[in-house]
Symmetry: C2
Subunit: 365 residues, 2 copies
């Protein structure tokens, strides 16, 4: 249904439209790979951000060892598009999902995480019945208070149990420090990160010491990827946002990637001197991390004005924006904004060169 | 890709899942129609909430005169599904959209709104070229500070211009009082509403007095539908949320519809005594109006824990929720939550009876 023409100028694209500056995204993909090239930490980028197999393949081509997915549904999309190895970073619970995991595991390497003995046993039992073995990481809570067992003894206790389950293979630990990614100050972020990582690597040592080999210690997002080269004991990181970035990450010191994602919007109403109304609201831009930033208009502020509209308020009433004009917005949160759109409008040199489906959008199961 | 079985118990549906209690929705559809049955105000319900042609047809069967849509994309979905008349309640700007409007207008009655002379002229010019006439309402700002010209003289001035445009037919006014829908106190809401409606109906009188007949004066949402029967000068209302409701509307006095929409989620982690982690986060529940409400667990609070997770915190640590258990959540905002999902899981007597595509989800253009 989407109408577009290759070579259209950005200003001619129908709006609201999600815009991907592919050259910037490719530079980001390269920059993250370069960051790791001299160390032993490998890259398993999280596709929950971009949700697009083509971008995942570009990450693989740049040296990723596989990808990370938040949900089985995302993993299915990636594997059907030829990605050979996916870590599902959230616990898989319930019979329907376990059956999907087993079906998928016949066609690619699918790793997952466990933090509960009963949930682990359910996977093991189902896998055993069909003669499969699922590689799992024990999920460790390194301070985020989300999923994961506590570091140290509780993690060891779960690892011991997992090691006895015939349908599972204990391959490592996951400890995602999501609470640290957006700590603004580089030094503060690094100090917290070192403390968190010590919990994780100490736990890995404890488990290894008890006789269970662990190949993988997986952690890390875009905000802490800065430190990944100096991370003894960490074997891989799983950053997601770096490919496209967002305005929230733009405020975090020392992250160092380029903004590649925008929402293009049109002025649809101007009845006051102080503001205009644009056609992108809460159905085109996520609001969980605040409003988007207006690009290229000094002092202009975007305010959400319902599901379909935003109000752009001017610092200086002299703005000459008129009905029909286009405005580029920088999303505050990339993952949730991308999740509202069906397509990337891929641009190069300010021209539309491709439209890509966001195939894993809405794969919430 | 969605796996489901007719007759499944709610507790067996894979999660997260958007649940529609169809009996409650049908009672809401009936209740709104009953509310209007003895007056002269007609019903043109807004489909931006449910985004589902089948629900729109149920509204038509209950006596609606047509539907309202926020975007042309929604109107296209409705018209292709046989809805004969759609009001697009936001200004249509830009050549691509005008071409779509003209194409659509050959197959159904499509009304739209204008608040800008240039934008109106662009539609008129394009319509004239193909020998069409588009019915339009002048959009009036009754206090929301979104789209719309000011009431009184500015509205009259625009109406005069529109009346001279050969490709347009001036048929009425729209004045949506979105800023009043959630005023908690019934009395306060009513007082503000009377003042707003006076502006709108006075403007209609002014324009009619200047020699321009106006058939339609369209306004109203779920929150102000309480007063619609006693609304001289208003010809129709366009409420949306009432079909399914949400927790935000649940706090508004005197609205009087039933909650018919839920998000079903599964406990995927329980490593602390104080809370559990469920599998519905910001990709399954909108956060613009705050967190969802936990149904049926006294004192339990939902806290967003990222895109894929929520944390349910207990007042009383004795909760016996375990990994694998299901929890029903009441979304805080129906429109934006529905917009995250591809399907309604339609339930009756706690059994899954149908799965309906949310066909206009993501139709943001
Ligand atoms: C488990 C896990 N790993 C990695 C990431 C990627 O983090 P970022 O997008 O900040 O790079 C996320 C993001 O939420 C995550 O949940
Ligand atoms: C123009 C317009 N009319 C009607 C409605 C319906 O309002 P509600 O969902 O509160 O009933 C909306 C909702 O945003 C709207 O924008």
């Amino acid at each position: 249904m989407l109408e577009w023409t290759r070579g259209q100028a950005v200003g001619e694209i129908d709006t609201p439209a999600l815009i991907l500056d592919i050259a910037a995204a490719e530079r980001n993909i390269r920059a993250m790979a370069d960051r790791l090239i001299h160390g032993s930490v490998r890259l398993r980028p999280h596709v929950k951000t971009h949700k697009c197999p083509l971008l995942a393949h570009k990450q693989m081509a740049a040296g990723a060892i596989g990808v990370t997915a938040a949900k089985l549904g995302e993993a299915e999309v990636m594997i059907r598009a030829g990605i050979p190895e996916v870590l599902v970073s959230t616990p898989i619970v319930g019979r329907t999902k376990i059956d999907r995991l087993l079906a998928l595991s016949r066609h690619a390497i699918v790793l997952t995480v466990v933090d509960d003995v009963g949930a682990a046993r359910a996977i093991s039992d189902a896998a055993t019945r069909v003669g499969q073995k699922i590689p799992v990481l024990v999920d460790v809570d390194v301070g985020q208070r989300r999923t994961g067992v506590l570091p140290g003894e509780p993690a060891l206790a779960l690892a011991r149990q997992v090691a006895t389950m015939p349908g599972l293979v204990l391959v490592g630990l996951q400890g995602y420090e999501g609470h640290l990614q957006h700590v603004q100050s580089r030094d503060e972020r690094e100090a917290h990160w070192r403390a968190s990582m010590e919990k994780l690597t100490d736990t890995a040592d404890l488990i290894r010491g008890a006789g269970f080999p662990l190949d993988i210690v997986s952690t890390g997002g875009t905000g802490t990827s800065t430190f990944a080269l100096e991370a003894p004991g960490i074997t891989e990181i799983q950053p997601g946002s770096y490919v496209v970035m967002d305005d929230h990450y733009g405020t975090v010191q020392g992250v160092g990637f380029e903004q590649a994602l925008f929402v293009l919007t049109t002025v649809v109403s101007r009845t006051r001197t102080t503001d205009v109304i644009v056609d992108a609201g809460m159905k085109a831009l996520s609001s969980d991390s605040g409003p988007p930033r207006v690009r290229g208009i000094e002092g202009a502020q975007y305010v959400f004005a319902g599901d379909e509209h935003g109000r752009i308020e001017f610092a200086d009433q002299g703005s000459n924006l008129r009905v029909g004009d286009r405005v580029l917005l920088v999303p505050s949160h990339c993952d949730t904004t991308i999740n509202l759109h069906d397509h990337y409008h891929v641009i190069e040199d300010d021209r539309l060169v491709e439209v890509w489906p966001i195939s894993a959008r809405g794969r919430i199961r």
